[in-house]
């Protein structure tokens, strides 16, 4: 079997605040298979960005990775020196962010910003670097590359900035691209263009970890999906299975909410209650106070990831075992 591009084992990342420890990512296990787009979906504050930042070693004080293993192509990313991490970031694994304006250097021409990673990791001459940078910018769909390379970020539109970000991330042909809400700040027509570009990159061999709160984005381009809630993975399955047979009540709630908007329903589906405060998580299953099917064991103990139906479909819910016997009704 081919090795996994990314493997996260029991990752725990916490923020040590004055009010106490906030467990932003809790026992997260996650894999990215080569040549696939793997999605993480969840509401704000569910730990999806923290998981991604933990991989990159970008968790800021007062947060830190408490325990867990992160393997990139079989090599450990945790417990390595800052210098080693630097040689991996941008070369083997790179990341693009939600807001392209704040992630680009405002006082540096975009061409130079794209070349930077090449000069650092590939030790190319300036001329060679400029040439490959131009090729990469062309590849991500930027026209008139020569002039655009001489632009500063503020001279470009949001869609172009995000393309520059993607070019920067892809310039050293990393094994893994982490995209944290790459299209959330963009307009719908540009969003569709960027998603199509990411799909092309994936077809060309880059594995992608895509973080999004938008089930539309996930449904359109992901191969495999993790659903997170309150710092934990609560369900994982390939995209078709997840959308056809969601097993966790939270996943169902999310899907119903997204689908009812497109139906003729007079009253839209919602999930009762609010996302719990990570400082004061309820006992037992974090979702139990909002769950319509909550039972006694849910209030006292946290369920493990249990198999549900299809192969590779895991769900953190006591009901999964029971559900297996009866056909899952489509919602």
């Amino acid at each position: 079997m081919e090795s996994k591009t990314l493997e996260i084992r029991n990752l725990n990342t916490s923020f040590f605040t004055q009010q106490g420890e906030v467990r932003a990512a809790c026992d997260v296990c996650l894999e990215v298979q080569p040549g696939q787009i793997t999605g993480i979906v969840g509401e704000s504050g569910c730990g999806k960005s923290v998981t991604a930042r933990s991989v990159m070693g970008l968790v800021r004080y007062p947060g830190r990775v408490v325990s867990g293993e992160i393997l990139l192509d079989g090599k450990a990313m945790t417990g390595i020196s800052g210098k080693e991490a630097c040689s991996l970031r941008g070369a083997e694994v790179s990341m693009i962010f939600q807001e392209p304006m704040t992630s680009l250097n405002p006082v540096m021409k975009v061409g130079k910003q794209v070349e930077e990673a090449l000069l650092l990791h590939r030790k190319l001459s300036k001329k060679e670097a400029a040439k490959s940078a131009a090729q990469m910018l062309e590849k991500v769909g930027i026209s008139d590359v020569k002039n655009r390379m001489e632009c500063y970020p503020h001279q470009l539109s949001g869609g172009l900035r995000q393309r520059v970000m993607i070019a920067m991330a892809m310039i050293c042909s990393p094994k893994l691209l982490i995209a944290d809400e790459p299209t959330t700040a963009l307009d719908v027509t540009v969003e569709a263009q960027i998603l199509r570009l990411m799909k092309q990159l994936c077809d060309a061999g880059t594995s992608i970890l895509l973080i999004s709160h938008n089930l539309g984005v996930i449904a359109q381009i992901c191969d495999y999906v993790y659903v997170m809630y309150a710092g934990r993975v609560v369900e994982q399955a390939d995209t078709m299975t997840l959308f056809d047979h969601p097993a966790h009540p939270y996943t169902r709630g999310l899907l119903q909410a997204a689908r009812s908007l497109r139906s003729d329903a007079e009253v839209l589906a919602t999930i009762p209650g609010v996302v719990p405060n990570l400082l004061h998580l309820p006992a037992g299953c974090s979702f139990s106070p909002r769950c319509g099917q909550c039972q006694e064991p849910c209030k006292t103990s946290m369920p493990d990831m249990l198999p549900a139906g299809e192969k590779g479909h895991l769900v953190r819910c006591f009901l999964a075992e029971k559900e297996k016997q009866q056909p899952v009704e489509a919602i």
Partner: protein, 326 residues
């Protein structure tokens, strides 16, 4: 249909942008908002939808054109004369984190518009009104003395809605009220807005870039591109039978939350929105439009009615050509 509550006639608004340059934010836009309806206003960022929303309640003064509230021309009224209309026209903002004063508690936040309009005579009455409004928007009364930072995004948006309702308005301009929220919370707010509309007979001008949200909440919809309207009509007509090429591309770009309906092969709009500082001549969409010809480059199309109040500003409307989005 009931009467026209708010009408814009050829509104134009330009903002200075450096030496002799101007941002053409809204150009020659006419539209009517009927009593009791929800009019959706859709477009990509920078198309002028928020500017138009602000012009419609006279938070901005137009450079030319007229604004009519219930048939009265209010374009040139002084602030004092306009005050009685101001109460009727309220606004809900996009960012529930930035639009509430962090140093006021809920009671003061909601009481502010009540005080401005001298609605209540005693402190007791004021508190009662605030509590009633909190109940209407679903904020528990015991949170009366809490501050904005103690609430979630959805709850803050509810407080924003209560503030708008406090003035007892006829019309509320909702400027991207749910785009900062997660979907389940977004749905709660949309349900609340619908409920309030029913119980209070409100009229909404609902501004959003999210086509699915607009489809759900609106009766009629206006599609905007670069400061001009390109299509308006009843929601079902516009969504199922788009006449303007831009509208059809927008519909194509909707991300369906269903992996069985992937839109990998649907034709996408290339390029980006042209600059509003130097908008294209003629039809402003012609630089991105596959059907554009010389006439489009020369001459700006006028809004023409295809029947049933379905208006399109295009020289070559799509007619009943089957769209590639079903």
């Amino acid at each position: 249909m009931s009467g026209v509550l708010l009408e814009a006639r050829n509104l134009t608004k330009e903002f200075p942008a450096g030496r002799k340059k101007k941002v053409h934010a809204v150009s020659d836009v006419s539209l009517q908002v009927f009593q009791g309806e929800t009019l959706g206003l859709v477009g990509e960022s920078g198309c002028g939808k928020s500017t138009l929303g602000r012009l419609m309640i006279r938070l901005l003064r137009p450079d030319s054109g007229a604004l009519l509230v219930g048939g009265d021309d209010v374009t040139h009224l002084s602030e004092k004369e306009f005050r009685k209309y101001r109460r009727q026209l309220q606004l809900i903002f996009q960012d529930p984190y930035a639009s509430l004063d962090p140093r006021l508690n809920v009671r003061d936040l909601i009481a502010e518009p009540l005080r401005t309009n001298h609605t209540c005579r005693t402190k007791e009455e004021l508190t009662q009104r605030v509590l009633a409004l909190m109940e209407d928007v679903g904020i528990p009364g015991e949170y009366l003395y809490r501050y904005p930072h103690q609430f979630s995004g959805g709850q803050r948006q509810r407080i924003g809605i209560a503030r708008a309702l406090a003035a007892d308005p006829e019309l509320i301009v909702c400027d991207e009220p749910v785009s900062a929220l997660d979907v389940p919370v977004q749905n709660q707010i949309l349900n609340l807005l619908k409920k309030l509309q029913k119980s209070r007979g409100l009229t909404y001008l609902f501004i959003s870039h999210d086509l699915s949200v607009v489809r759900h909440i609106s009766d009629r919809v206006c599609i905007m591109f670069l400061g001009t309207l390109c299509e308006t009509g009843r929601v079902d007509d516009v969504y199922q039978n788009p006449q303007h090429p831009y509208t059809r591309y927008l519909m194509n770009a909707i991300l369906v939350p269903d992996p069985h309906h992937r839109t990998d092969r649907i034709e996408l709009l290339s390029g980006e929105i042209p600059s509003a500082v130097d908008p294209p001549s003629g039809c402003r969409f012609h630089t991105r439009c596959p059907y554009a010809d010389d006439r489009c480059r020369r001459e700006a199309p006028k809004m023409t009615d295809a029947g049933d109040g379905h208006l399109t500003a295009c020289h070559y409307p799509l007619g009943n050509r089957p769209g590639d989005h079903s």
